[in-house]
């Protein structure tokens, strides 16, 4: 089996193991707390208590999406990084997983919020119960006597409408996120994940980095890491939307033109410029057909050298250069200059 294929499978296996074991860890904690929450909620009379486990949803969603990648001949967990001839994680896969994990984290916060509301209301109900139980025997006797003459409504310890609403709203917030995760699909949600992964900000210590990727590097990032996979997934229709949304994201951080005006030439430093690849796309088909008609009967051009160069690895170049260096010696070249013979020592260098 191909060495790269083996490395890819190893990397994929490791990445999957780490990811799913973390999800399972969160999942089992959530399962315990959901179990006790369901019991508590039913005890105080909340209706329609059906609490899904968001970690299970996440797990199943990732499995489902990974199958879509596999059908397209890709892995959601690993990819070959051509430039460095190594195996790394898949950019698309990582963007999706991080987005879903963020949603899981949000769902956990909502669940905590629901737990607090439930605890508050349970506390109130328990206090009411306790208050009833702590009436002195004399007072109890007098109340019972009064009840003979004045009808008294039984004390209702069930949830009020407002309390039901509070609990239902808090639970719905959690369930909404769970449903959002379940409905995640590549066609409708991949662009949002990619925009987040590329243009999202991060904080390292006290330093806030506005965007994960500099605007000027984004076109190349798309061209090398994202567009090829989108084409394999038959999602190239998403490319214009992705480009537009990225441009809008980066535009948000443009300085106020009143304080600092950016020249057109420098704009690519602030907003990704995808036009250079659009132009190349138009010419590519033209160039391809011209290339196909080319043969060396017409001579050899710079383009021919460039085509060869693209396919030669850095390691081959290094090896050959070292071999040639051993052979290259300074050569005396006698050149005529103004009718005088001048001995000129010229060192050949391929660097």
């Amino acid at each position: 089996m191909d060495k790269n294929r083996i490395k890819m499978q190893q990397f994929e296996r490791q990445h999957k193991e780490t990811l799913f074991s973390k999800i399972n860890e969160v999942g089992s904690k959530q399962f315990d707390s959901i179990s006790s929450l369901t019991t508590s909620a039913k005890d105080i009379g909340q209706s329609n208590v059906d609490i899904p486990n968001a970690s299970t949803t996440l797990n199943n969603k990732i499995v489902e999406l990974s199958k879509e990648f596999e059908k397209a001949g890709l892995s959601m967990f690993a990819s070959k990084i051509e430039l460095y001839d190594t195996i790394g994680s898949s950019f698309l896969g990582d963007a999706i997983i991080h987005d879903l994990i963020d949603q899981l984290a949000e769902s956990s916060e909502k669940l905590i919020n629901y737990t607090k509301e439930l605890e508050n209301i349970t506390k109130i109900k328990n206090e009411q119960k306790l208050a009833l139980q702590n009436i002195s025997p004399m007072k109890k006797f007098l109340l019972n006597l009064r009840a003979l003459f004045v009808p008294v409504k039984p004390v209702d310890l069930s949830l009020t409408e407002e309390e039901q609403k509070t609990l239902n709203t808090a639970l719905k917030d959690y369930k909404d996120i769970d449903e959002k995760m379940w409905k995640y699909n590549l066609k409708d949600n991949l662009v949002q994940s990619l925009v987040k992964a590329i243009a999202g900000s991060q904080k390292i210590g006290d330093i806030k980095i506005e965007h994960n990727y500099e605007a000027m590097n984004v076109p190349d990032l798309l061209e090398e890491n994202i567009i090829p996979d989108l084409k394999k997934l038959k999602l190239d229709s998403l490319i214009p939307q992705l480009q537009d949304e990225l441009v809008e994201e980066y535009k948000k951080d443009l300085p106020d033109p009143k304080t600092f005006k950016i020249s057109q030439e420098d704009m690519f430093l602030y907003i990704p410029n995808f036009k250079k690849y659009e132009k190349n796309e138009e010419n590519k088909n033209e160039e391809k057909s011209v290339e196909n008609r080319r043969n060396i009967r017409n001579g050899v051009t710079l383009k021919d050298f460039s085509t060869i160069d693209k396919k030669v690895s850095e390691s081959s170049r290094r090896t050959t250069l070292n071999t040639l260096k051993r052979e290259i010696r300074p050569i005396r070249e006698i050149s005529k200059l103004n009718d005088r013979k001048i001995a000129k020592e010229e060192e050949i260098s391929l660097e």
Binding site: G299, V300, D304, I308, V312, R317, T320, I348, L350
Partner: protein, 76 residues
């Protein structure tokens, strides 16, 4: 120098002869002389004039030397 490199230089030499003058002038004479001296005198490159350069059945070493020439002398 190993035989394979001598053969590769022979291939490179025959390819350089197909270059236009303006490109060839970018390669120093000293390097051209080096190729002329070190190339194999017995190896006859087999170029197919109906194919493009990339489609030619060249030695890997030839392609690498062409890449080095391109990067060192030809591209801006």
């Amino acid at each position: 120098m190993t035989l394979v490199y001598e053969n590769a230089l022979a291939e490179v030499d025959s390819i350089l002869k197909l270059m236009p003058e303006d490109l060839l002038h970018k390669i120093p004479n000293s390097f051209l002389n080096f190729i002329a001296q070190k190339k194999s005198k017995s190896y006859i490159p087999n170029l197919d004039f109906d194919l493009s350069l990339d489609e030619q059945n060249l030695l890997e070493e030839t392609r690498t030397i062409l890449s080095l020439i391109y990067r060192s002398y030809l591209c801006n």
